[in-house]
Symmetry: C2
Subunit: 481 residues, 2 copies
Amino acid sequence: MSESVGARAGGAYDVVVIGGGPVGQNVAEGARAAGLSVAVVERELVGGECSYWACVPSKALLRPVIALADARRVDGAREAVTGSIATSGVFGRRNRYVTDYDDTGQADWVRSIGADLVRGDGRLDGVRRVVVGGSDGERVLTARQAVALCTGSDPVLPELPGIEEARPWTNRTATDASTVPGRLVVVGGGGVGVEMATAWQGLGSAVTLLARRPLLPRMEPFAGEMVADGLRESGADVRIGVSATELHRPDPAGPVGVLLDDGTRIEADEILFATGRSPRTKDLGLETVGLTPGAWLDVDETCAVREVEGDWLYAVGDINHHALLTHQGKYQARITGAAIAARAAGQPLDTAPWGAHAVTADFHAVPQIFFCDPEAAAVGLSAAQAEEAGHRVRTVDVDFAEAQGANLWADGYRGRARMVVDLDREILLGVTFVGPGVSELLHSATIAVAGEVPIGRLRHAVSCFPTISEVWLFLLKAYGG
Amino acid sequence: MSESVGARAGGAYDVVVIGGGPVGQNVAEGARAAGLSVAVVERELVGGECSYWACVPSKALLRPVIALADARRVDGAREAVTGSIATSGVFGRRNRYVTDYDDTGQADWVRSIGADLVRGDGRLDGVRRVVVGGSDGERVLTARQAVALCTGSDPVLPELPGIEEARPWTNRTATDASTVPGRLVVVGGGGVGVEMATAWQGLGSAVTLLARRPLLPRMEPFAGEMVADGLRESGADVRIGVSATELHRPDPAGPVGVLLDDGTRIEADEILFATGRSPRTKDLGLETVGLTPGAWLDVDETCAVREVEGDWLYAVGDINHHALLTHQGKYQARITGAAIAARAAGQPLDTAPWGAHAVTADFHAVPQIFFCDPEAAAVGLSAAQAEEAGHRVRTVDVDFAEAQGANLWADGYRGRARMVVDLDREILLGVTFVGPGVSELLHSATIAVAGEVPIGRLRHAVSCFPTISEVWLFLLKAYGG
C-alpha cells in the first residue's frame, strides 16, 4: 500500500485532493488537464463509496431483478422465464463490477493522468496544508493553489436501544453481502431503502420496509406511492408511518427482534438502516482553518468554501450537501476543476447562472433515478417545491398508458408522468416519470429543464412512435396552447 | 359498414380528410378543436397502415424478442430464461394491439371528436370537392376550407420474373402472419427489412436477409454494420451486395426458390419484400386539380400542396415524402390542423423556422428508431448529410462501454454513439445511438437537436449515474472545450 508520497519535491503540489472517489478523481482530472500538479489522498479504496458500496454494486444487484421483471411483463417472453434468478450469477456480476473490492485499476488510472496517489488519512493542517496519516507516520503536503475536500458521507444510524447488539446492515453490508437473508427488515423509505428493498426482495428475501414518512419524500408524491405498490406486488411488506424503537439480538448468530412504535414486533435475519447520511468532515482538520468539524460545508457556485478566505479550499460532492448523488458530485467536480485551473492561471471565471464555473444545475436541474420496479425518475423541482419557490406554475399529469409505445413495451403498462411548467417563462421547472423502463427517458427531461427549452420548441421535438417517450406528446397536448 | 355520409347538409364540411390513419386523425382533431366541421374518409380500417400492418404489430412482435435478449445479457437473470419464446403468446399480444383487425374503437374515436366518418374510396373531383365511392354508389363531399390527403404509402415490389407466382410477403403479411415460416428470405436492408428479420429470426425462422447496399443506409454507417452483426449473432444469414433476380414457386403450397445475382440459389418457405414505398396517390383524382397521379406531392411548411393555388389542398404524412414515419406524419398533421384552423379564422400564421405552423423538424430533427438487437436510433443529420449540406462540423464518437451504466445494464454491453456538432453555432445537428436499450434515450438527443441547445448548456444537463444516458457525458468530454 505504500505509494509515492512526496514524490514531488517536499510534498508540494498545486492541488491536493482529499478523497479518491469519483468526485475527487474528476477534480484531479480537471486540474491535471490544466497542467497543475495534483496529489490525491485516499484512506480506503480509490473509487470511493460509489464504486464499491453504493451506485455500482446496487445497480449490479438490481438490474437482474428488473430485467426479469421487464421480460415477465411481455406476453410471449414471460413464458420463457421459467427459472429463478440465479443469486450466484447476480453476486458474481456484482463482484466483477466492484473489481472484487480491489482498487488497482482505479489507482492506476489516477497515476495515468499524472497525479500522485497518496494513501492514508488526509486532514487539513492550516491554510493550504494537508497532513496525511498512515501506518508509517505522518507526511505533510502543501497546496499552492487549492485543497479540495471530496470525502463524501457516512450512513447515520439512529440511537436506538440495542442497535449495536443488532449489528445492523448499512449501505455497505446491503451491497456487499453474498448471502440472501431469509427475512430482511429495511428501515428508511428514501433511495437506499427502496432500492435495497427491491433488490433483496428480488433476490429471495422476505423484505419488510419501514418508513416514517411516505416513500421517496423528495419526489412527487405519486412516485413513492407507485414504488410502494410495486414493492407490495413483489411480495414485500411495506409499512408507512412506523418506526423501530428497540432492537434485540441476544444471540449474535440468531435473528434480530425489532420493536415498532405501533406496538408490533418483527423478527428478521438482518436489519438494514438506510436512514440518512452525515458528512465525512469530523476528522478533516476543519478546526485548523476556522470551520466546524462534522458540519456540512457551505460553498459558492464554484464549490469554494464560503467561510474560508482566498478561494483555496473547496468542498465538492456529498459534503457540501447540495445533492448527495454521484453524478452531481462529478458535475461539481468538473466545474471546480475548471475553476481551480482558471484561478491558477489568473483567468476570469464565468460564474453567471449556467456559466462554465457555476454549479447551477445543483439548484435547478438535479436528476435522480431510483432503479426500483417501477423505476422512479425525476429532474428539477416537484410541483410543491416550485410553488414554494414562488414560481407561477401549472402541473400537467399524464398516464403513460396514453402512449401506445408504453403498452407495447410492457403489457398492462402502468406509469405516470408529470411536468411542472413555469407559466411566466413557458419552460419546464421539473419532470417526473414513474414506470418500468423510464430510466433512460429521464435525460430528455434533464436537457429540457437544464436547457430551458421553451414549450413551443419542445413541440418540434418529435418523439418516435411507438416508444415510451411518446408520453412527451401527451404531456404537451395536455398542456395545450 | 354504412356510416353517416352527408350527415351534414349536402355533404358540405369545412374540412374533408382522405385517409383515417394516425395522420388523418390528427388533422381532423386539430380542425375539430378549432370548431370546424370535418369528414374523415377511409376505405379500409380506421387507424391505417401503422395501426394494423406496420409500427404497432411490428413492435408487438419485436418486443418479446428484445425483452428476452435483454434479460439474457444479464448474469443472474440469464439463468432464469430457460424456456423458449412462446409464439402463441407473441401472436396473441400482436392480435390484441391490432384489436383483431377490427377498427370499431378507432371509428368511435373519430366520431367522439365530432367528425363524420365516411367509409369508402375518396378522391378529388376538382377544387374543394371529394367524391367517395362505396358499394352503394358515389357521394360528393365539399370542403369550404380544406381537403387533406393523408393516404400514406404502399409497398413497392420489384419487377422480377416469377414475383407473382412467389406470392411474396409485404409489410402486411410480415406483420399479420400467425405461423412461423421455417425459412424466411427478407429482401431489403431498410427499416422494415431489418426489423422483420429480427422479429422472425427471434420467433424461430431461419432468416436470410438480402440487401443491395449496407443496412440502414440513411443512418451513420456503423448503425447498419452493428445491426448486421447482431442479426448474424442471432443466427440470421445476412448477405450484403446481392439482389434477387428471379423467383420460382411452381407449387403454391411448396417452397419458393430465389435466384441471386451472385449465381447462388436459396430455397425458403416465404419471401418478404421490403424494398421501398410508393405514394398512394394513383387513384386520388389528382388530375382533376392539375396534379400528376402516382407522384409524391410537394408541400410547403404547412403541408399545403405547392402546385395548387389557394392553400386549400394539403398532403400530410408519407405522401409528401418528407419522412415516411408515423410520428413525423402526426407532427405534420398537428401543424397542418393548426394552419387550417388559423387560415379559416383569418389569423396570421407563424411559418418561421420552428414556428407553430412550420414542419421544421422534418428537415432538421427527424428521429427514427429501428427496434432491432442492437437498437439503432438517430435524430437529425448524419455526419455525411451535415457535410453535404455545407455545415462546418465535427463528429464525436464514443463507445458506450465508457459509461459504466451501460455495462451494468447489460454485461458485455456493446454500443456506439455519435454526435455531429455544428462548429459555427456550437449546437448539435445530429446524434446516433446504437446499442441495446437505447430507444428511450433518443428523445434526449431529439430535444437537444430540435431545441438547438448550445453545447455549453448541455454540460449542465447532468446524466444520472449509472445509466446508459451517461454516454452524453463522454460525448461532451470527447468534444472538449
